[in-house]
Symmetry: C2
Subunit: 224 residues, 2 copies
């Protein structure tokens, strides 16, 4: 027996923090179905050039959002007979987290939207988005994931606020600092401190150059 091959796409939930809230990058569809609608960046696998789905995801992120993300991971595969009007289809979905982009890439074809306001999107993209946000929140509890949301230089206070904004909850400062030390993915920048304002200068940190993309702890951070 031979069966029609499913439609295969690769779709990406691209997340960043803006104005203290998680935002997702959306692109405007330039063909049917859902012509003109804002959706997750996605596309077909280019079987003549993509070595695998990971490469397809990186290519789509580059082409549609103008971004290279050091953290781009498979989320899960969504599939079904009815999720796409063109036939039985399958989306190998990815998620990426990036620092807030400097210089607005937004325009006719790309924009950022707060994830909490995105209740409906074409296809099952709202479900894919929800799954990615849950994954990012869950990994924030036990891993170094939010470090990918930080700019090149940051304070420990800013990193804690990032964790808190992703979780929508407050964290105990001492427990948070112990966790960051245990994860061992950031380092002090020698002699670099914040300046100005009414606060004491604070030590600036950066990602360690050779730290793995993700490090995990054996327990969840307690959230307040």
């Amino acid at each position: 027996m031979d069966f029609e091959r499913p439609i295969v796409t690769v779709d990406i939930v691209l997340l960043t923090l803006r104005d203290s809230h998680l935002h997702a990058g959306l692109t405007r569809r330039d063909k049917a179905p859902a012509l003109g609608a804002w959706t997750l960046p996605g596309g077909w696998v280019h079987t003549d050039q993509d070595q695998d789905a990971d490469e397809a995801a990186a290519r789509i992120l580059r082409d549609k959002a103008g971004l290279v993300s050091p953290y781009l991971e498979q989320l899960r595969t969504f599939s079904g007979m009815h999720r796409d009007s063109r036939g039985w289809s399958l989306s190998v979905s990815y998620y990426a987290v990036v620092p807030e982009p400097v210089g607005e890439p937004a325009g006719e074809r790309f924009r950022w939207a707060p994830v909490d306001g995105l209740r409906s999107l074409p296809f099952d993209h709202a479900q894919i988005l929800r799954t990615a946000v849950e994954r990012v929140r869950s990994k924030t509890l036990y891993s170094s994931l939010p470090v990918h949301l930080m700019p090149a230089e940051f304070t420990l206070g800013a990193l804690q606020r990032t964790y808190e904004q992703v979780l929508g909850a407050t964290l105990d400062k001492r427990g948070f600092r112990r966790r960051i030390e245990e994860l061992d993915v950031i380092e002090e920048i020698p002699g670099a401190f914040t300046s100005g304002g009414s606060h004491r200068p604070a030590q600036l940190y950066r990602k360690k150059a050779h730290a793995p993309a993700l490090k995990t702890a054996t327990s969840n951070l307690p959230v307040g």
Copy 2:
């Protein structure tokens, strides 16, 4: 632009404990490529009947291993230009864990093999198997997953040995019992105890009828 659609298969890592070791269910391929070789149970998506990939996985498990598994979860999607000689292909991979089957389904088309001895399998099935075993071991540290490996009635001691056999490590008895209580997925069978032998009779337990397929804790079990 239009691209050739990738080949899509669904493959399943079916795991059980036999003789204290994790075993995977293998089926013998009845067509090329790899005709006659033992591989993970798998097949095409039947786009005329499978509602989604989850349904395809359940159908394949039923047809190839004669099994229905209450725990059948997506593992990840493996893909690439070169993993299948027929062209760009993609395997939506699943894993299932089941109690040791009573009555050997093994034969010409199906057998169990110890996972630690399976270094090479056709396609990238050895990598898929390795990924599933890692996932099961990691979930064993923080969830109720191994309960799916148990028969209908079991003692707490047998459940602890199951956790230990999956992990290949020993666990502290008191910590283990606290964890099982916290997960709250099993219950005493009223008036049911082990009998015979030189040991004291031990309370028998069963899965709670309405417990979710998986419950998780906020920290890993410490392994000794």
